[in-house]
């Protein structure tokens, strides 16, 4: 065996330009009846009532045709105290075994739908619940539902025969814009920020665009802070995604720039404070003006006027804590883990009390 020092060898960087990589891969798509999930996480409705559900453990997205489950209940949704306890009882288990992963409102019936994991470990089971205007909780049976499922391709391994590839990727949020589903994800091995877009009906998944930002709070240019939650929003007539990152820059970028393989420079329009994880956000109108409502794990619920979104200058210098577009903390909304717009005047939220109880509340838009 001979020792070879690399100083004397040629180190080749394969500058496979992204443009040389296929911009969108033909995706593995499966259509059928009776979807299965390893885990059920983020939910988002398409305009026609198709429910997109992320299987976070499989890094797959399922488009569900809810059929009768979409229309069977009383219209609207009603507040339910101790929601997690009631869900646990309905699913035949203890409240400690229940994890509510998302909450969305059907665009037509205004029923709320919640994704839930029941149990622990590899035996944990997914459930989809409908909450109607009478406060009735029904389990949506997956058995008869039509679905279409697309997998996000995992990053390749350098050694394709090694069976110990422990990389997994999960989905943190999704938004449906102009016929495409935008997906933000996390990997358990790479600290990275990538947004993928998936055409619907499912046929292709692109390679994703890296979304780079200047993170004034960390005093650095940062590619890798993950996008945690985002919403589509039109700025001067152009569709943008408004994204909340960890610790907590608020960033806008036009969807037209989100080309596969591109590195997109987001405009950091606010620094909303460190030591914080954004959880969920919605856009709403009140008194003729538009606002963003964002829940956070340690900084409460923020109400942010969108007036300055078009003109805000990008933050490109370090900041101590907060900068850019300002916000108002909605002190009446505490412990909010999930939120969605229920109707023109109300938001529906899952809020945890200091005692640890998860309530489903309906709160007038602030």
């Amino acid at each position: 065996m001979r020792s070879l020092f690399l100083r004397s060898t040629l180190v080749l960087t394969v500058a496979l330009s992204w443009s040389g990589v296929p911009s969108a891969a033909r995706a593995s798509v499966d259509n059928g009846v009776g979807p299965t999930f390893k885990s059920i996480g983020p939910l988002v409705f398409g305009p026609d009532g198709v429910l997109f559900a992320g299987d976070t453990q499989s890094a797959a997205i399922l488009a569900l045709d809810l059929g009768k489950a979409a229309t069977g209940g009383a219209a609207g949704a009603k507040a339910i105290p101790a929601f997690d306890q009631k869900v646990a009882a309905l699913l035949g288990t203890d409240v400690r075994e229940i994890t509510v992963t998302d909450l969305v409102v059907h665009p037509k019936t205004r029923n709320a739908f919640a994704s839930v994991m029941r149990g622990q470990g590899n035996n944990a089971q997914p459930a989809l619940l409908r909450i109607d205007g009478a406060g009735k909780i029904d389990v949506v049976a997956f058995g008869g539902l039509k679905y279409s499922r697309v997998e996000l391709p995992n990053a390749p391994a350098a050694n394709p025969t090694d069976q110990r590839n422990s990389r997994t990727q999960s989905i943190t949020d999704m938004a449906f814009v102009d016929g495409r589903l935008y997906v933000a994800g996390l990997s358990n091995e790479e600290f990275s920020s990538k947004l993928r877009s998936v055409s619907y009906p499912f046929s292709t998944v692109d390679n994703g665009a890296s979304v780079e930002i200047f993170h004034g709070n960390h005093g650095q240019f940062e590619t890798r802070s993950p996008v945690y939650t985002f919403v589509p929003y039109k700025v001067k007539g152009e569709t943008n995604l408004i994204a909340g990152y960890l610790c907590t820059p608020l960033v806008k970028f036009p969807v037209t720039g989100l080309k596969a393989g591109a590195k997109v420079m987001g405009t950091t329009i606010a620094e909303l404070g460190n030591r914080n994880r954004p959880l969920d956000m919605i856009v709403y109108q009140k008194d003729g003006k538009e606002f963003l409502l964002m829940s956070n794990n340690s900084r409460g619920v923020m109400k942010i006027s969108t007036e300055g979104f078009a003109t805000a200058e990008g933050i490109t210098k370090p900041v101590a804590d907060k900068a850019g577009v300002g916000y108002e903390t909605i002190t009446a909304m505490k412990g909010v883990e999930q939120l969605d717009l229920l109707d023109a005047a109300n938001t529906i939220v899952l809020a945890r009390t200091e005692a640890g109880v998860l309530n489903l509340n309906i709160v007038a838009l602030p």
């Binding site: 001979r2 020792s3 020092f5 690399l6 100083r7 060898t9 040629l10 960087t13 394969v14 976070t56 453990q57 009631k86 646990a88 009882a89 035949g92 288990t93 203890d94 075994e97 994890t99 994991m117 622990q120 470990g121 590899n122 459930a127 389990v139 990053a155 390749p156 350098a158 050694n159 025969t161 090694d162 110990r164 590839n165 422990s166 990389r167 997994t168 943190t172 996390l186 358990n188 091995e189 790479e190 600290f191 780079e212 960390h218 005093g219 650095q220 240019f221 940062e222 890798r224 802070s225 960890l246 610790c247 393989g261 460190n274 030591r275 994880r277 794990n297 490109t316 210098k317 101590a320």
Partner: protein, 394 residues
């Protein structure tokens, strides 16, 4: 007066009989296992049966007369079914979701989700259409699983316990699959005085398991590891150069069976200087095997690399450029990478291939440090997808 029967492999049931749908006495009539409770079939009297013969345990009402069974074959709403046969985790809790059917001469409730082992379920049956009918109640449960904790933390990477001040992540390996909840409530970092470091890790929760939930990734919060900015006033850095910390993992973290760990885990972390340099493959040493041998290719590094990425982001290309199948072993301290092909090595020009995702302990990549602290100085070009380092087998 035997009201309950247990069928199948095992089950425990405690039955109560009430009259006129009102509880007048709570009599524990039966407690036993299926092995000692032969199935009396569907003869009367009516009784609640925990049926564990099928893959998913069902709750049956056996011993019903034929006319009642006929009535029960009609379609009903869920609320109507619940008024007849109610199964719940407690009497004061909402009824469980499940399907009702008359099958094999019984009314059968199949819960939408499998019954939990060791949990009591309260069952109440009232025959439909008969106001004078007796209500039958029972408490049924599957046997509890073995409650002796056996799962342990089997390894934490980086294995040497020496970390740079800007360490990016830790991998916690377990001897068996864990529960689905995240672990940050159970992972603590103690400083050299034994005081807990507040919030050293990224506040991410459940997403960082591998597929079989035996490895959990913990990311240090990069916002607290930066150089060149004042430490966050109220928190300071998570790790400080020159100090020794202790990583503590509580035994209370539950495994996939809901049991705690068999023992807590402690590991010292000795903190060195921050590492802000990109990886440089020129500093690696490649020791190629001899042609015709089945020996391992050995590659050593001057600093530890990330254990998870060493398993995935390094490989070998054969002389024709195709990926070479083989087995990878990461050596002690993550300073050594060994590759053994499926067959012998033919002579020729090979390449070690390093994917762009390969990182050291601080998240530095080939040609690109984790941190770039000036916006205008940052590299906006596309990252190279992979780096090839040629070597010869002679």
């Amino acid at each position: 007066m035997a009201d309950t029967t247990l069928e199948g492999a095992a089950g425990i049931s405690r039955t109560r009989r009430f009259t006129s749908a009102a509880p007048v006495a709570a009599l524990v009539l039966f407690l036993g296992l299926a092995a000692c409770a032969p199935d009396p079939g569907n003869d009367g009297p009516p009784r609640i049966v925990l049926n564990v013969a099928a893959e998913r345990a069902t709750i049956d009402v056996a011993g019903l007369p034929a006319d009642q069974l006929q009535v029960l074959t009609a379609e009903r709403s869920r609320d109507e079914w619940v008024a007849i046969l109610r199964v719940a985790v407690a009497a004061d809790q909402p009824p469980m979701a499940g399907d009702y059917v008359v099958s094999e001469g019984r009314l059968r409730f199949t819960p939408m989700f499998p019954l939990d082992a060791g949990r009591d379920y309260v069952v109440r049956f009232v025959a439909p259409g008969d106001l004078a009918a007796q209500a039958i109640s029972a408490s049924v449960s599957l046997p509890a699983r073995d409650t002796t904790p056996v799962t342990v933390v089997s390894q934490v990477f980086p294995s040497a316990g020496d970390v740079p001040e800007n360490q990016l992540r830790l991998y916690v390996h377990f001897s068996a699959p864990m529960g689905s909840k995240g672990g940050l409530d159970y992972i603590h970092l103690l400083d050299d005085k034994g005081a807990e470091v507040k919030d050293p890790f990224l506040p991410l929760d459940a997403e960082f398991w591998n597929d079989d939930r035996t490895r959990y990734t913990v990311f240090f919060d990069p916002g607290r590891q930066k150089r060149g900015i004042a430490p966050i006033a109220d928190l300071g850095r998570s790790l400080t150069q020159g100090k020794t910390y202790t990583l503590v993992i509580d035994a209370a973290w539950r495994d996939g069976n809901g049991l705690p760990l068999a023992q807590p885990f402690r590991r010292p972390l000795r903190v060195g200087a921050p590492d802000e340099r990109p990886l440089d493959p020129k500093t690696w040493t490649i020791m190629p095997p001899s042609a015709g041998s089945t020996n391992s290719l050995r590659v050593t590094f001057p600093e530890p690399l990330d254990h998870g990425l060493l398993l995935r982001a390094l490989g070998v290309l054969a002389p024709d450029g195709s990926p070479l199948p083989g087995d990878v072993i990461v050596g002690e301290g993550e300073l050594l990478w060994m590759f053994t092909p499926k067959g012998a090595w033919p002579a020729g020009r090979y390449s070690l291939v390093a994917f762009a995702s390969l990182e050291d302990l601080a998240g530095n990549r080939i040609g690109r440090a984790f941190e770039v602290d000036r916006f205008e100085r940052s590299d906006h070009s596309a990252e190279p997808e992979k780096t090839l380092i040629p070597f010869s087998v002679r």
